[in-house]
Assembly symmetry: C2
Homo-oligomer: 515 residues x 2
């Protein structure tokens, strides 16, 4: 058995049975091993940003890691920005990066690069295998690291000789490291704080992230919030929120600094539950970086590594908070007329299929879509967590693989879509049930807003750098060119009809929604 075979056997034994791949020469033994050993689903991406974004989407839905297969330092580099997003999402992932043979590296052949250096910036765990007999054990540790408390990206770099040399040893799966248990001390502290704040009439904001945004912990959070007058907030961008009818709705902290500051004004106590302290996405002259009031008291109930559902359950129990009514169905009919953010939100609320997975890279136009869909049928909402645009199409691709039988609906800004449009081909090849809605405004709308924020009166040069027209992108052709059926839509009536129809049939479809 060679090293590559021990790698594949070990991954399978450890429960990793899906591999998103963009292989090259140095990974041919891995590919050959995948051929010989049954059980691994291999999904090809035509660009590495598709591969890493898809692995992120897969893990968010499957709650276990996929493997990736990438080619040398530059192949990893092409996947870095979606690994950055995955890191911010605390995504479980096992990157396998083929590289120059151990003894060839010193010759500095053209593709030789600082593979480990690239990996470190986005990975919680990095190792370069040194010999074939270690590869199985390395892979088992990588899976354990990826699946550890909170979840992380583990990157295993495989010099080609560690794959082709004989002497591979399959490693047994390592025990999964459980989340850090709920902390009774922190729970007691927060319970006392909530009681005292209610007594004193002081505003409390509870900011929630990661596993605390699933159905059961959100129900406990809602019970606590109702009982104690606490304002609940999800982080601005989240890996997965379980929401819609029967779940408990939660607003997100606004992206725009002034809106966030206004929303959090007067807060005396900030309780963090698997979330970071809310900060501005960027600094702006004369505006605060931290979005909560400067004099607010910040308390950590639990970090991302903790057992967040158990923590919120214990806090609700400690406080005697009674269950509250879940989100009711929004019975508003689909919108008609012109395409606006609110109209699209209204139609989505009416028409989202039950158990849909919504992937949201809608950027500026989409800010009305999340608030507008609280009353849709039960669904999950996956967002761009790291701000590195070009995540939506890959994330959807992987989410569809990780959640078979559920319709994936991608809310996708056009500018961001262009970064990783190759994902559409993978959707076509794998016949994935994805409906992509391209929000086609033919500009970087967010940047026009940001330019206005810096007080500039844009001239020709600036406008040209934010304009995706001249020539217009034709998303119907870009989709069809990759085997995905598509239609252009310019009004809500047609959108409603097309959206309902394509969600009911298998396979991918792209709607270019001109906005």
């Amino acid at each position: 058995m060679n090293g590559a075979e021990s790698l594949v056997h070990t991954l399978l034994a450890s429960g990793v049975d899906t591999c998103f791949a963009n292989p090259g020469t140095s990974e041919m033994h891995f590919v050959a091993a995948l051929d010989r050993i049954p059980g691994m689903r291999c999904v090809l991406g035509l660009f590495e940003g598709v591969v890493t974004g898809a692995a992120d989407g897969y893990a968010r839905m499957a709650d276990k890691p996929a493997a990736t297969l990438l080619h040398c330092g530059p192949g990893l580099a092409n996947g870095l920005s979606n690994l950055h997003n995955g890191r911010r999402a605390h995504t479980m992932m096992v990157n396998c990066v083929g590289d120059q043979a151990t003894y060839h590296r010193k010759l500095d052949a053209p593709l030789t690069a600082d593979t480990e250096g690239f990996a470190r910036a986005v990975s919680g765990w990095v190792r370069t295998a040194s010999k074939a007999s270690d590869v199985g054990a390395d892979a088992a540790v990588a899976v354990q690291a990826a699946m550890g408390p909170g979840g992380m990206i583990a990157t295993l770099i495989l010099p080609s000789d560690t794959c082709w040399d004989e002497g591979g040893v399959v490693a047994a799966p390592l025990p999964r490291v459980a989340p850090v248990p709920a902390d009774p001390h922190a729970i007691g502290n927060v319970a006392r704080l909530l009681r005292a704040a209610r007594q004193a009439g002081e505003k409390v904001a509870m900011v929630i992230g990661n596993r605390a945004l699933r159905e059961a912990p959100l129900a406990h959070a809602a019970a606590i919030a109702t009982e104690y007058g606490v304002a609940l907030w999800a982080q601005g961008s989240n890996n997965r929120i379980e929401r819609g009818v029967g779940r408990h709705s939660i607003p997100r902290i606004p992206y725009v600094v002034d809106q966030a500051v206004a929303a959090l004004a007067g807060v005396k106590h900030v309780v963090l539950v698997g979330a970071q302290l809310p900060v501005g996405f960027f600094a702006y002259p004369g505006k605060p970086g931290v979005l909560t009031p400067a004099d607010a008291n910040v308390v950590v109930l639990a970090r991302v590594e903790h057992d967040l559902p158990a923590t919120l359950a214990a806090l609700a129990d400690e406080l005697g908070a009674k269950p509250v009514a879940a989100q009711a169905r929004d019975l508003t009919p689909p919108a008609t007329g012109a395409v606006t953010s609110e109209a699209l939100g209204q139609s989505l609320a009416a028409l989202l299929p039950e158990h849909a997975v919504v992937v949201d890279e809608s950027i500026s136009f989409g800010r009305g879509l999340y608030p507008g869909t609280h009353g849709a049928l039960a669904h999950d909402w996956l967002a761009l967590t790291g701000g590195a645009i070009g995540d939506g199409l890959p994330l959807s691709t992987g989410a569809a693989v990780g959640a078979p039988g559920r319709r994936v609906v991608t809310l996708q800004a056009d500018g961001s879509a262009m970064y990783t449009l190759q994902a559409l081909w993978t959707q076509a090849r794998e016949r994935l049930d994805v409906t992509t809605i391209i929000l086609s405004n033919r500009k970087y709308a967010i940047l026009l807003g940001e330019l206005a924020n810096v007080g500039a009166n844009p001239g020709r040069t600036a406008l040209d750098m934010m304009d995706l027209g001249n020539p217009d992108l034709d998303w119907v052709k870009l989709a069809q060119g990759q085997g995905v059926d598509a239609a252009r839509v310019t009004d809500m009536e047609t959108f409603n009809d097309v959206f309902a129809a394509v969600n009911a049939r298998p396979g991918p479809f792209l709607i270019e929604l001109v906005i």
Copy 2:
């Protein structure tokens, strides 16, 4: 004057007047400055790999650096693999990377990443500006570094407050650091070696790279080679070779290890002229890493930092080598019938426009194209120098900006083209004179060969991972979707007609050549 304005003024004063850009929020003051200050041509790319590859192509043709404008760590990350190629090409480039404000970085907002870490792996020079009053001076040093001996990538990271704060100071251009002068000692050594080897009947190979592959030094190399029976070789992949009628032709060291070893068999002395010792692109079990014989004597005549044209001129003078006849016109008519690598080479030899710039990312199918075009009209040949595929379309885009009035012809494998297809949109917007030939075999042909090399008999899984069909990519639609006219061609007669016609008209065109 704010920092951003001092940056733009300093770049212009230093001779940098072209900026390939994919800006984001943290670069809005830079964009506003570009708006207010005339003189900088801004070219928008819809993905950062387009931006960095275009800056590479520009510098190869213009012999001076372009600036790039990139957004934070992840924006830089998306450009890394073409920066890797640019590093291997010794390309002059000034990367400007906007980033979080100095005081905002500690808050770890979502887009915050290890920007400097990403930059170091691909840059010869990296600096993070610390205050507005230094930005001008930082920019002048960056240009000086980029234009130093041999050329390099200089990356200047600009926290947003260093751009928006007042107090910017325009810096005067710094003197250009000249190449290291030709070394009389090395020249004398090599002259003695060549005389002695001729005397002894020992085989000498001279391996040439970088600036030594321009017209004048190649004429001197040819004179020396003819007089002394030396085998001349260009490196396997080169930033720019001046060739065709009136120049002196030079073969490239083959990519395939066995072919390269055979070509260099029996060589007793290897003379390196601005080139690295030839090594295999990858290691293979049982094959050598260094391609020249193990017992060969390796002598460095000049490194890339040296004045390579002066070195070869001095060596020719020292040896009394007389000028030899230049390449004659190949009068073979364009090929007819089926599309093969040889047929395409024959048609290109007949039909390449004079002063064309050929960008070669043709990978496996294209190995016949370079040897087949020695006798074309005078042209330049730009290749993928770092092996990170996805360079061809961006490189062509930048080459067209850097060499106005010349036709750019891109020989582009389909699999590689998918990595950075967004470059077509920039070609359309800028109405660049680029003819893209997509070599459409709908597979990763090179990997099928490599898989065979490792002795595997490919099964379904492996074949699927090398197959770009199912569904077929439709390059006509992918081009038209971005505003580039296109046609599909399946035989040489039609190719000849279309190729000649589109080269004679302005603007971009894409030919999907089914092979």
